[in-house]
Amino acid sequence: MATAKRPIRWHVGVFLAPAVLVYTAIMILPLFGTLQLSLFKAVNGVQTFVGLDNFRTLFGDPNWSTGFWNALRNNIWFFVIHMLVQNPIGVLLAALLSSPKLRFSAFYRTAIFVPTILSFVIVGFAWKLILSPLWGVAPNLLDLVGLKFLFSPWLGKEGSALIALSLISVWQFVGIPMMLIYAALLSIPDEVIEAAECDGVTGMAQFWKIKLPLILPAIGIISILTFVGNFNAFDLIYTAQGALAGPNFSTDILGTFLYRAFFGFQLQVGDPNMGATIATMMFLIILAGVCIYLFLIQTRLRRYQF
């Protein structure tokens, strides 16, 4: 063996090959394949290159564009409700859990995380039953606290269905921000807290001035995870409201819109190319969100090294 040249290390290739092959073949290539399909159209059963025609249809043809903008608007709402409700509750629970000498904290942690491990099918149906006016669990409970007049079949009303579903989704996923922020709070060294206490910064002031700035990177990660998850959501809406995302498309989000375009529904025939076009739009939206996070938010968040 020549000393000047290192031998080819075959084992590196052997270690990498299976993962890279599966990942490339099943994930990366289909992703680009889908992007490519959005530029084609089936003409007499033959895939023909049509440039940006599908996008023109999506934005120009009222049959498609109304549905798309409606789904996008609903999806943004879905995300905003998550950010406004899920993250504050998550931060609050994490702050309570991390208070020193709290007993049973392992029990609370385990219990609050339970909904997160359940499938959307269970969550969607269980809440559908609970909120159903037929069964009466929700009205009975509201009656206990004297608020029965507030009850209405939320999931069946155009005005409230999306909000109800967003809150169900928040209920399911609040465990994730809670855990990640809890971990971030635990990693704050005791010296920092003790120094704050020596300076007389305690209680709420301590939380706002010392801890919150230190857990901002964790909140940033949660926000981007929520963003990707929300703009890719499908299962909960499909389970609770069906592929038509009723009532009257008021809970339609990009995932259900994509599903209907791809597989067809009622009288409309499924169209893989339009499906790919919508998937491409979702890809661009998620990519934009991830880029904003990586280049604008993450670089500005200060990370403290202890």
């Binding site: 299976p18 993962a19 990942y23 992703l31 889908t34 709290l102 305690t202």
Partner: protein, 279 residues
């Protein structure tokens, strides 16, 4: 410790808030499970009560047992989850080892390439994945699901495992090399046993989304023989929507295995999250 953080009033308030949220988190699960054991009238008359001797009824479970082929669905889910998990852990650990152990040209680039999949969901490629599976004759096979879930699980597994593998001592590996062990033996005999806790964390993270997924079973394997529990439950619930006993029993049956698994592994999962495995 300052007085402010340990005063009994604050601690009671903290417990109060946590108990309240725990009830909110568990209530839907509890209400579904207790009502699944009750007769139809009792379900509607007093939904908040646990079953008593006079209202106890297993009719819902009987319907589920007779109508849905849940044993088969369960078996399918188990096969898909275990097989995907095996490949994610094996391939993921191998790639993570290559990335963290050897310096080679394009190492960082390869790491970045494999990490892409953490942020970009595999669902966006569904249209082309379906075409690929049709071309490969894999539609309505469990193999299709195993392939997709393996690809889906790999990026996060590689990312987490390579962080952990960097912490395995170099001296140990070099001692092995001096003793004439091959790189494969070093990986399987020395490194893998040491990163077992990290593997457990990755296993839990990988398993939950696979078991719960509805999208890919619905699109790639909706046939009767290949339905997973999640898809089977979805269709069963849609079909029996007016049979409350059956619906509640099916939901309970879907909840229990996951819940038992979760309680068994919750320490692993929570330790994984809080040890900063997810950065």
């Amino acid at each position: 410790m300052s007085k402010a953080t340990s005063s009994p009033v604050r601690s009671i308030a903290a417990h109060g808030a946590l108990i309240l949220y725990t009830i909110i988190a568990l209530f839907p699960v509890v209400i579904v499970v207790i009502n699944s054991f009750k007769s139809r009238q009792a379900i509607f008359r007093e939904p908040l009560m646990p079953p008593t001797a006079s209202t106890f009824d297993l009719v819902g479970y009987a319907t589920v047992w007779n109508q849905g082929d849940f044993a088969l669905y369960f078996q399918n889910s188990l096969i898909v989850t275990v097989a995907s998990l095996f490949f994610v852990l094996l391939f993921g650990a191998m790639a993570a080892f290559a990335l963290s152990e050897y310096r080679f040209r394009g190492n960082a680039l390869m790491g970045l390439y494999l990490a892409l999949g953490i942020m970009i969901p595999i669902r966006l490629g569904t249209v082309a994945i379906l075409q690929l599976m049709v071309a490969g004759g894999l539609v309505n096979t469990l193999t299709a699901l195993v392939l997709v879930y393996t690809a889906q699980g790999l990026p996060l597994a590689i990312f987490i495992l390579s962080e952990f593998m960097k912490s395995v001592s170099d001296d140990l590996k070099n001692a092995g090399r001096i003793d004439g062990l091959s790189e494969y033996t070093i990986f399987f005999r020395l490194v893998l046993p040491l990163v077992r806790p990290a593997m457990a964390t990755v296993a839990v993270f990988t398993m939950i989304p696979i078991w719960n997924d509805l999208w890919f079973p619905l699109i790639l394997a909706p046939s009767e023989a290949t339905k997973t529990v999640t898809l089977g439950a979805q269709l069963f619930l849609g079909q029996y929507v007016t049979n409350w006993n059956a619906v509640l029993a099916a939901l309970s049956l879907a909840i229990l295995p996951v819940l038992i698994l979760y309680i068994a592994f919750s320490r692993q999962l929570i330790r994984g999250i809080t040890s900063g495995a997810v950065k």
